[in-house]
Symmetry: C2
Subunit: 189 residues, 2 copies
DNA sequence: CCATTTGCCTAAAGGCTTTAGGCTGGCGCA
DNA sequence: TGCGCCAGCCTAAAGCCTTTAGGCAAATGG
């Protein structure tokens, strides 16, 4: 009997693909076993349980996203950087809806600390160096940007903007214009 | 044998309470049956399936949220109204995390059209009358506010802001200040 | 070359969803 | 008041998912 060569890593990668195909919430240990043409119980030698599988997929997505963000930010500053970073999130969500959903999976403090989530915050901070903000406003701005990016993308993915004019791309551009303007004239306390 | 007096309505209400207690994703037809001290199959005379149950809970939450928003907006304008509306979302999410999650449940176009989602958009539009925006900027602004509110609240609920200074309330206030300033000086195309 | 570890399998228990079909308490009508 | 009918709950059963326990065989390394 030929062995399938399972690994926690490979399972997570396959799980990420599965998520993009059928949705993160339908990623199931059983379905994954089917894909590897292996019995379900076999997966439990590699992952503790379903939660660990999802966590690994989430961590993987966060890494990928952070890598893309780092790439996009390289050599850019100011509004250029703002738009680039924003597009990274939006594009990733469109290309990999399942992974994007996974990135929202709630992690325990343990996993969260070791995740790429930290890098995300740092990069947003780096981006803000192109604007003139000092603490604590910088932190407020980091949180605002995170909220807008995630909020917009998740509403858009949910179809929230698809049944009314103007089209979503137009709004996205105008929102980024507005955020840029806001960051340049941030109202200090 | 005394009848339990089940109803799609009562099931949805009980489901909403259950969601707040254990989380929306753990709302289950089985658990609900247990709460009514009734066999699982009995519920299927009132709801078509699990999806319909969740949809009804979502619609209920959207309704409640819209009612609160309408209340909060009454007699207010400008920044006052902005803060009031924003707090409605945030407070609702804190008081009723399960219902808030339910409100994010993806509805079919059918249900979406008949939902209170429409009222939400209209109220945000009404709020913007306190600022000087005309179409299509008004729509862009509606979408921005929706993104910020939803994005911030969902990150906050996920614990995203809880492990770093400054505290979340402070950021929330400053973000609302910033949005107010932005709306007053919205960069026209 | 064989001993041990590692990887996948069978078996089984327990939970959730959904459908089919049966019994009965009550409401409506005569 | 009495009776029939139907709505409302039940039992049964199938199908899928998770998770644990224990077994056999393929790799690995001494």
């Amino acid at each position: 009997m030929v062995r399938a060569g399972l690994t926690a890593e490979r399972l997570a990668r396959a799980g990420a693909e599965l998520a993009d195909e059928v949705g993160f919430d339908r990623v199931t240990v059983s379905e994954l076993a089917r894909r590897f043409d292996v019995k379900v119980a076999s997966l439990y030698s590699h992952i503790r349980n379903s939660h660990e599988l999802k966590t690994r997929i989430a961590l993987l997505a966060l890494e990928e996203l952070a890598d893309r963000a780092a790439d996009a930010l390289a050599g850019r500053a100011g509004k250029d950087a703002l738009v680039a970073l924003a597009d990274v999130y939006r594009d990733y969500a469109r290309e990999h809806p399942g992974r994007y959903a996974a990135a929202q999976y709630r992690l325990g403090p343990e996993d969260a600390a070791g995740s790429a989530g930290v890098r995300h915050a740092q990069m947003t901070r780096a981006l803000l160096r192109g604007y003139d903000l000092t603490e604590p406003d910088q932190t407020h701005a980091v949180r605002l940007l995170g909220s807008v990016f995630h909020g917009y993308v998740s509403i858009e993915m949910g179809g929230g903007f698809s049944h009314s004019a103007p089209d979503s791309q137009e709004t996205w551009s105008r929102i980024l214009d507005a955020l840029d303007a806001l960051l340049r004239t941030w109202p200090s306390s």
